[in-house]
Every structure is written in C-alpha cells, then in structure tokens.
C-alpha cells in the first residue's frame, strides 16, 4: 500500500502507485452512487470546510455532496460573500475557518500555489479544488477514473487535449497524471494558448496546430472550455475558433473509432464542442460528473477519516 496522503495539493508530486490507489478506492464509491439510500455515517461528526475564493458551481457542489453522503457536515465560504471583499488576507480567512475546528479544508483560489501555501500553515488536511492555472487534481483523478473505466486501462494511451491549454489547470493536472502512465500527449489550439514551454511538463508531449492531424490515432480527447473570463485579449475571434478548433462529428472521425471525449465542464455548446459530439455515444461528460463524486468521496474518506496523528491509538484488535 502506498504512503498515506496527508493533503492533495496536486498530481505532479504523486506516484503512479498513489494515483492507482485513489482510483481503486473510488470504485466502491462509484457503486455507492447507485444505492437507493445515498447516506453513510462514516464521517459523522466530522466537518469539512469548503473555502471557494473563486466562483465555482460544479466542484463546490460535488465536494459538498460527497461530504454529505459520507455523513460529514460542511462549512461554506463563497467568494461573493466572503470577508475578502472587506480586505481580509487569504491566510487570515483560512485561520479563522480553522479556528472553527474543521477536520479538513477544500480550497479553490485564483492564485497558483494557494493550496500549497495554506497546507504549510494549517494543521488539517488540505484538498486543492483548483489553484490559479496550476493544478486541479480531483478533476484529473475523475478524468482518469472515467478513462480507465471506458478503456479498461490507463497506460500508453494517445491523448489529445484541445483548446486553451496555457490557462487550464485541468490540462496541467491531466498531463501530469496521464504522463505517469506513459501517455503520448498531443496539444492542439491557437498558438498563443499552446506555448512551447508546455512540452517540458512531461516526456512525450508534442504540439500540433492542425486539429485533424492532432486527432489522428487518438484514444482520448480532452476538450477544454474557452475561458473568456481569463482572456483579456483573445488571440483569435470566437468565429475563427469555432471554424478551426471546434470538435465536430467530422473531425471526431479522425480519431480512433472507439475514442472517447472528455470535457471538464461547463460546456459551451456550439463553441468548443458541437452538440452532436457532446451528446454522442463517445462523450463521457456526464459520467465524469458522477465519477467526480466517487473520487471526492474516496479522497475525503482517506484524508478526513481517522484520528489526528497525535491522538491516542487504541488497540485495533478491539474490532474483530
């Protein structure tokens, strides 16, 4: 069994073995989503702080639902209503939350490295729900779970990532994760969003400007959202983007016939993806959402259950 995780800050520092362990632990929770009674008491009495300093809908709801299904309570901090508006610093806000004695904290912040910064300054497990353009580890884990289920394996896949890779923490976490399993990764998008430096993230990454070429032989396609809120000067007009990079059924035929399509959401139909692809049989978009619950439940169970490291350790044999 791999070393027990204390925090989940990113995919990059994890070993393939640790990733496989988390994915294996998510399996029972996938089954659990089909139960008629979706409520466990496993984390009863535990509290998870959800500190979202950046607007989020799906990740926040997914973490909150995962905690609720494990029986934990949540404290919610949302960017719009937070005291950050009143000028409080990030660390003061987090220390205030910590003083209310949660057993773990989930954090999303616009600054790359925010989760790591907090993990060094608090005594509870920290889960990164997205930090700037750095990492979004739970998204990569749920993507990996979805891919492993559909493809039957994770290793040596041809993966093509489409869109604004430069600003995408999902892409970065996906690249780190899939590379650990020997993926060959092709990045495709407008030149400004696919700088050469990305090839240094892992071995076996290359860039390809033409979408048809980028899709050839692909097992897995990861389509990214065009993040208009992060872009001040678009390198390309939306019409041009649609014309050159939209994933259409015709272009999808360049990939392997059994290729699957992932998207971290929210999807914008008719922009980065054609509705016929989003709703087609090769699309895994809604499976990803369901798998997000399984991965986050597995993670919360791993990180938040159990006693604090300094707690007395009663004999395990009491439970035979």
């Amino acid at each position: 069994m791999p070393q027990r995780l204390r925090h989940l800050l990113g995919i990059e520092p994890l070993s393939a073995e640790q990733i496989t362990f988390i994915l294996d632990q998510a399996k029972p929770f996938q089954e659990f989503q089909r139960h008629p009674l979706k409520k466990l008491a496993t984390l009863r009495g535990k509290t998870v702080a959800l500190a979202f300093f950046e607007p989020s809908t799906r990740t926040r709801i997914s973490f909150a639902t995962s905690a609720a299904r494990l029986g934990a309570d949540t404290m919610n901090l949302q960017a719009e209503s937070s005291s950050l508006k009143k000028g409080e610093s990030l660390i003061d806000t987090v220390w205030t939350l910590e003083a209310m004695k949660p057993d773990g904290i989930v954090i999303r912040h616009a600054a790359s490295g925010a989760a790591d910064f907090i993990a060094r300054r608090v005594d509870i497990p920290v889960m990164n729900a997205g930090d700037g353009t750095h990492e979004h580890p739970t998204q990569a884990l749920l993507d990996a779970l979805t891919i492993r289920d559909r493809k039957g394996r994770l290793d040596s896949l041809n993966v093509t990532i489409l869109g604004d890779i430069l600003h995408s923490r999902v892409a970065r976490s996906d690249i780190h994760l899939l590379s650990k399993f020997g993926a060959r990764i092709t990045l495709c998008g407008p030149a400004m969003w696919v700088p050469r430096e990305l090839e240094c993230l892992a071995p076996n990454i290359h860039r390809e400007p033409r979408i048809e070429t980028a899709l050839a032989g692909a097992d897995v396609l990861i389509v990214l959202r065009v993040q208009s809120e992060r872009i001040h000067e678009p390198p390309i007009s939306l019409d041009d983007y649609i014309l050159r990079y939209q994933l259409t059924p015709e272009r999808l035929r360049c990939a392997k016939p059994d290729a699957i399509v992932l998207h971290p959401g929210p999807i914008i139909r008719g922009l980065e993806i054609d509705p016929a692809v989003a709703d087609g049989t090769q699309s895994c978009i809604l499976e990803q959402v369901t798998n997000g619950l399984a991965v986050r439940m597995a993670l919360l169970f791993q990180l938040v259950s159990g006693a604090a490291p300094d707690a007395p350790h009663p004999a395990k044999e009491n439970f035979a």
Binding site: Q25, L40, A41, G306, H313, P314, F319
Partner: protein, 182 residues
Amino acid sequence: MRVVEKRQLLSAEEIDRTLQRLAHEIVEKSGGTKDVVLIGVRRRGVPLAQRLAKCINGFAKVEIPVGTLDITLYRDDLSTVAAHPVVQSTEIPFVVDNQDLVLVDDVLYTGRTARAAMNGLFDLGRPKRVRMCVLIDRGHRELPIEATFIGRKITTADTEIVEVRLQEIDKEERVMLVDRVD
C-alpha cells in the same frame, strides 16, 4: 507485540465437516431455499459463503445467490484508529428487498462487525429477515447480537485471537488459537 500459537481449534477436515453441517442447518431452519441469499463479510466470510452455497448446491441442487459485503465504511472505530483505512467493493448483484439473508463471517466476537454489516445491508434495501452464520463464536459480546448458525462455540480469554486460515486467502486451511505476549 508478539503472538504465539496455542492450539489448533479446527483442522481442514473439521472445517469442511462443519460447513457441511451449517449448510444443512441453513436449509432446514429456512424451510427450504426459497429467497435464501448468503452475504459473505469481507474478507474471510466471502470464501465461507461461497463454500456454503456450493454445499447447498451439492445436496439441494439449488444455486443460492452469494454477495460480498465490505463493512469498512460502517465501522464505528474509524475516528479512533489512525490506521490507513482501505475500502473494498461491496458486490451484491441482486435486490435484497424481501430476501432471507444469511450473513456469513468467520469469527463472532464483540458483535461490532455484525452491527456494521447490518447497517450496510439496510442501506441496500429492506430484507425480510437477517440471520447470521459464523464458523467460530468466541464470546465477549459488546452488543446484543447472536448468530443463528454456529460452527463451533469456544471459550477464550480476551488476550487471545482466533485465526481462521482459509486456502483461498491464507494458502492453508485450519483454525488456530493464538495468544498475544507483551
């Protein structure tokens, strides 16, 4: 902590005979095999449930459904044990509503595993009845729980451990009484 083997409680042959008897008892006391379903509690309850189903198939010529239950998520000591918890899958590929369930485990001790297993089962539906079948009942109950089908009842000291070793998991076949020596 060191452990020493004190004595053998059951040999391979005795385990086999005990399971044969338990299989007959389950069918007799259930008035047949209608709706009877076996649920093995991970880990060693699983091979025991499969063997019981095979025994029943041997004389009653009926395939009894067998499920597997992992109780990790239902344990009541997770918040006190700092160990690394590992969940495994629960595989109950049938509806438990209105079924006559028999929980199968190797050793009945404090009753806390049985309590956890029942919580797990009731999250899946509403069985008609739940009974329990164990290879060894070693006493020291901490909850009002008793097994309906018992292979062997033994008296033990609290420091002792009953180790059921099964071919499928442990590559040997016997039940040992071991003692903890500090």
